[in-house]
Each structure stands twice: as C-alpha cells, then as structure tokens.
C-alpha cells in the first residue's frame, strides 16, 4: 500500500534532496564584509530539512516495524486550511486520469506558441472535459460547443476587457 512505503520513499527522497542542497550551499560565495552571507539561510534551511526528513523517516520506519495499522484520524481539526474528506469510504483513486490530466495541461501549454493559444485552448478544453468526466457524463457535442464558446469568452475577457497578453500565435 502506498501508505506503508510511501512515507519512507518520499521522505527519503526529500532527505537526499536536502543533502544535495546542503552540499551546493557550500558553494555559495560569501561576501567577507558581513558576518553572515547568503549562505547562512540555505545552510540552516537545508540542515533543518534534513533533520525533519530524518525525523519523518524514523517515524515511518517505526510504524512499519511495529506493524501498527495507520488508520488516519478522520478530519482532525488541525487539518486547518486543506479540505480533507474522510478517506474511509472513498471511491477508488483513478491515477490514470491524474496522469492524463497532467499530460494534457503540459501539451496544452507546450503547444501554445507553435499552434496558437486560441486553437489549443479549444482543443485542450474539449479533451479535458472528456478526461475528467465519467463515461455516463460525456456529451461530445456539448463539450465541443462549450470549448469554443469558452475560448471566445476567455479571449474577450482577458484580452479586450482586462488587457492581459496571451501567448503568441493567435488565430488570425
């Protein structure tokens, strides 16, 4: 399960990053006129991160070893800013959709300058509607029309009304 090894892998990876960062921070040139230079905070933060990652690693390893089932406390009040729903009866995670979504956005942005912002926006919207919806919710005509109308609306509002620039390669 992701939970069991995930913590160890992720915090381990972060610890490695912290070490690399710390190492690199020794290369930061110092201005000898001041008691502490621009290397101070990176070193402190890097060291702190390393310590914190190790702390998480230790905790995760302990949990793994004692085999205690990690039942996540439901909606603990200290979840503060994030909206975390109780995961006990959650629907299955669809990681393919996540990947597709990410790739779609990546492609969308990458092709702005080549193909044109407006065209790509319409294309992106159409496919993203499809990816995010369930089979039962797919209405291709509605999606196509919405893509085009939204693209037009976005152009109008952002370029004409708000005078923001959009990436080059406009249609026409």
């Amino acid at each position: 399960m992701l939970n069991r090894y995930g913590d160890i892998i992720f915090s381990g990876a972060l610890a490695v990053i912290a070490i690399i960062y710390l190492g690199l921070s020794f290369n930061i040139p110092q201005n000898s006129a001041m008691p502490y230079g621009s290397d101070l905070l990176p070193k402190l933060a890097g060291a702190g991160l390393l310590v914190a990652c190790i702390a998480v690693l230790i905790g995760a390893t302990k949990r793994l070893v004692t085999g205690a089932s990690k039942s996540a406390p439901a909606a603990s009040p200290a979840a503060g800013v994030e909206g975390e729903e109780a995961e006990s009866a959650a629907p299955p995670s669809d990681y393919r959709k996540v990947l597709y979504t990410f790739m779609l956005i990546l492609l969308y942005v990458a092709l702005w300058e080549t193909i044109g912002f407006l065209i790509m926006t319409a294309i992106y919207l159409f496919f993203q509607f499809i990816v995010l919806s369930d089979r039962s919710e797919r209405r291709y005509v509605v999606f196509a029309v919405t893509s085009i109308i939204t693209t037009a609306a976005v152009y109008y509002v952002f370029v004409q009304v708000l005078s923001l620039t959009i990436p080059g390669g406009l249609l026409g």
Partner: protein, 501 residues
C-alpha cells in the same frame, strides 16, 4: 486618522468597486460551497485578474472572495451534509439535522445571519485593535520581525496537519524554494545553475496557482467529489428565527465570534479549526448539551459565527505586520503585493486611506454576503450544479493565462506545472501544503530580517533572545512546539488504550 477614513471611503464608494465586491462575494460563495473547489483556489484564480485592475478594485474583488468563501460552505453543509470548506464542518453537525427535520429555511437563515454577525464582530475588533498593534509593530526592528516570522512559521508547521515533522518538512521545503535566485541584501545568485530565468527567483503567483488551483484539478481527476443531489428549499420567511430565539443566542454568538477572531489572529489556525473549537465550547457551556448533534441552534450559531469571525482576525497580523496567518491571507498578501503595496505598520501612517478602504470593503463584503445568500439561495443551488468536469478545465485555462501574464514569459507557466506536481505529491504523501506556501512567503522575510538583525547586532545572536519582543516570540515558539509535541504524545498514548478491547 479621520482624514484617511474619508479618502478611503470616497475611493470605495464607486460603482466599479461595488460591482467587483459583489462579484467577488458571489464567486467566493460558489467556491466555498462547492466541494472540490476551494476558496484558496478561487482567490489564486482571481489574482492575475487584479493585475489589470486599480488598487481598490483589485482589493474589492479579493476581499469579496475571501469573505464569500468562508461563508459559502454553510449552504451545502446544511442542505447536503457536505461541508463545502473545512470551515463548515461543525455546521453539518446541527445544520443538517435541523434541515432534515423539516426546517431547512430556519437552518439556512440562522447560519447566514450569524455568519454575518461573526464577520462584523471580528471586523469591529480588527478596526479598533489594529491601529494600536501597528503602533507597537512600528517599533519592531529586523530582530523582532525575525522572531515573529519564525513563530508564525513554526505554528503553521505544527498545526496544519497531523504531523509536526511533516509540517516542518513542508515549511522548510517552502523556504528552500525561495532561496533560488538572487539573494537579498547582496544579490548573490543561488541555485540558478546558469539558468537566467531563475535569476529573479520563483514568482509567488505561479507557485500559488500551481499548488492551490492545478493541484486541486489533479485531485479531482483522481477522486471525483460527490455529485450534488437535487435539493428543495422552500420559502424562506425572514431568517426563520423568532426574536426570542435570536436573543437567546447573543451570548453564544459573541463568544463564538471572539473565539473565531482570536484563532484568526494566530498563524496556522484558520476557520477550519475555529468552527470546531467554538462548537465544543458552546456545547460545554450549553444548558441543553443533549440537543447538540440533533439540530441545536446553539451548535449552528457557534459554528457559523466563529468561522466568519476568523476573517477579521486573520487580517490583523496581515495588515499590522505583513505576516499572513493562513493560506487565504497569504494569497491576499500576494494580491496586495501585486498592487505594489507591502502591508505593515507603516501603512497605518502613510497609507491610512488604503487601510480604511480595506476596512470599508470588508464591511460591504459582509453585507453583500448576507444579502446574496438570503436572496440568491436558489440561484446558488442552480449554479452549484455545474459539473466539475466542465468547471475545472476552464479554471485551468484561466490559471495558465494568469501565470503567463505575471511576466509575459512561458517560464512562469512551467512553474505552475512544476509546483502542481509538488503540490500533488505533498497531498498524496499527506504533507500539509499550507506550511509550504507560508515557508515560501516567510522565507525571504526570515532571511532578510535574520541577516539585517545580525548586522545590527554585529553578528551576535543573543540579542534575538534577550530583546523583550523578540525574546517573547522566540519563547512562544519553543513553548508552542513543546505543547504541540506533548499533545501528539498524549494522543499517541491514548490510541493503544482505545484499541485494546
């Protein structure tokens, strides 16, 4: 001070501003009410729009969003038992049962009314207290600012999630990210690897959009939030409360509002915590605790007045010291900075008109909120039905344009994607994201003030601990870490006992 009031007022009372506040509140309520859309996302979304707007108009939009967002959650909480935001979790405890027992109008009316009261009470406190705090904060030097920033960051790291260690990792990661680029004070290039796009460092706006908007889209791709079922509300006559019932709730409302305001002031705690604490406090002090959970007005009042009261409280550290207390105010800070304003104690003397403008906008926003929720309830319910798979891609498009328009370069758009991936990873491995953003924002403050402070004390760290104000905050930092760790330790010791038998 009165002169600032007049200028502030005259700037605010224009059609554009009023329209924008209204629009902001509308969008805020929508984002607050929809599970799957967060207030932070809404504000982050609107930030690029404020580029093209003058100062007061931009603030009107953002503050409207902020106020609307905290309140909107009550709609779905009461009608569907789904809190639109964590701020309305406790509202489901009594709001939903009350609605189900055939009194949805009363539940909604009460929630809306006391949301307004909570907001106003905290606004009054904000307006009266902040000038005095600003006078104190003006005397703060870099040493004090370092201590306060450290305290804020520590608190947020410790309180934002279940794990102090993960919070610390998240916060430090955020600080790390800010070190990329030209260093403060001496401008040394750090961690740029020769890539000149990084010389200016990573921009706050794309990072925010990446973590708060795009990550949410990825989360939705992974787990579709529940579809909102059909709901019938019926007629809303008055607020559904009798005068007697209203009167009986005043003390509760006041206490809950004060709790909310105080929690708003503390960095790291937000409306999500306030509503639950206020609810518990109301139950403890109630003469009819057995009614809680079954549709008790007291519980509903406590929850909704406290969560809105957080808004005024959170503005206090933001305006008096420029230190945000949670992700929402962090984004507001970004909004102010976009307009070229760095909030802090000096604002109260040099730009008093802006401060008063903000106060007045907050007041208007609260009023618009209550009017809109009261009259526009049915409209909201219709709007909430727009499917996420349509809404979110549109949001992505808006976000990418927004990121591009920060500096008119593609680099910022790639930044969004990079941080969306980071945000998603943080979420997947259960690291809280608020400390990351606060680390990102407070990082430069911490560094600049640490180094300036050190120059001031000629390289000696001791004054950081011995000067009264900074010493106090350093002490508070240590104490709060100890309290948090002890609290977790206690919880862990209880857990095996609970599992036994």
């Amino acid at each position: 001070m009165p002169s600032g009031l007049l200028e502030g007022a005259s700037a605010v009372f224009s059609i554009e501003v009023l329209l924008l506040v209204t629009f902001g509140v509308l969008v805020g309520i929508l984002f607050g009410a929809s599970p799957g859309l967060t207030t932070s996302m809404g504000i982050a979304l609107m930030l690029p729009i404020t580029f093209g707007l003058p100062l007061v108009e931009g603030m009107a939009l953002l503050l409207g969003l902020y106020i609307g967002g905290v309140s909107g959650g009550l709609i779905t909480a009461i009608l569907l038992n789904i809190p639109g935001t964590p701020a309305s979790i406790a509202t489901t405890f009594d709001g939903y049962p009350l609605a189900r027992s055939g009194q949805p109008g009363k539940a909604l009316g009460t929630g809306i009314l006391f949301s307004f009261i909570g907001g106003i009470v905290s606004l009054i406190i904000l307006v009266t207290v902040s000038p005095y705090l600003a006078k104190i904060a003006i005397k703060f030097g870099p040493v004090e600012y370092f201590a306060v920033s450290l305290f804020s960051l520590t608190l947020i790291a410790g309180l934002s999630g279940d794990s102090l260690r993960k919070g610390a990792v998240s916060a430090l990661l955020g600080v790390l990210v800010t070190t990329v680029g030209a260093a403060p004070i001496d401008g040394v290039l750090r961690f740029t690897f020769g890539n000149h796009q990084l010389d200016g460092g990573l921009q706050l706006l794309p990072v925010l959009i990446g973590i708060y908007a795009i990550t949410e889209v990825l989360k939705t791709a992974e787990l579709k939030p529940d579809k909102l079922a059909e709901v019938v509300v019926g007629k809303l006559r008055g607020f559904g409360l009798s005068m007697k019932e209203f009167g009986s709730q005043t003390w509760n409302a006041l206490r809950s509002s004060l709790i909310g305001t105080a929690i708003g002031v503390l960095p790291g705690l937000g409306a999500g915590v306030a509503n639950i604490i206020a609810y518990s406090a109301a139950r403890k002090q109630s003469k009819q605790p057995e009614k809680f959970g079954k549709g008790s007005l007291e519980g509903l009042v406590a929850s909704e007045s406290s969560n809105n009261a957080v808004s005024g409280g959170a503005m206090i550290p933001l305006l008096t010291m420029g230190i945000p207390g949670d992700a929402g105010t962090a984004i507001l800070l970004a909004g102010l900075m976009i307009q070229g304003i760095t909030p802090g104690p000096l604002m109260f003397s040099t730009s008093a008109d802006i401060i008063y403008g903000i106060f007045i906008i907050l007041l208007i926003a609260n009023v618009v909120m209550i009017v809109m929720e009261f009259f526009g309830l049915r409209v909201f319910l219709k709007l909430l039905k727009i499917p996420k798979h349509i809404l979110l891609p549109i949001i992505v498009v808006i976000c990418t344009i927004g990121a591009f328009s920060t500096n008119n370069r593609m680099f910022d758009v790639w930044t969004i994607l990079f941080f969306a991936a980071i945000g998603y990873a943080l979420y997947k491995f259960k690291y809280p994201s608020a400390p990351f953003i606060l680390g990102f924002i407070l990082g430069p403050l911490l560094e600049t003030n640490l180094r300036r402070g050190m120059m001031y004390t000629s390289g000696d760290f001791l004054p950081f601990l011995t000067r009264p104000a900074s010493g106090l905050f350093m002490l508070l930092t240590v104490v709060s870490v100890a309290v948090i760790v002890w609290g977790k330790y206690k919880k862990r010791r209880q857990a095996p006992a609970n599992r036994a038998g």
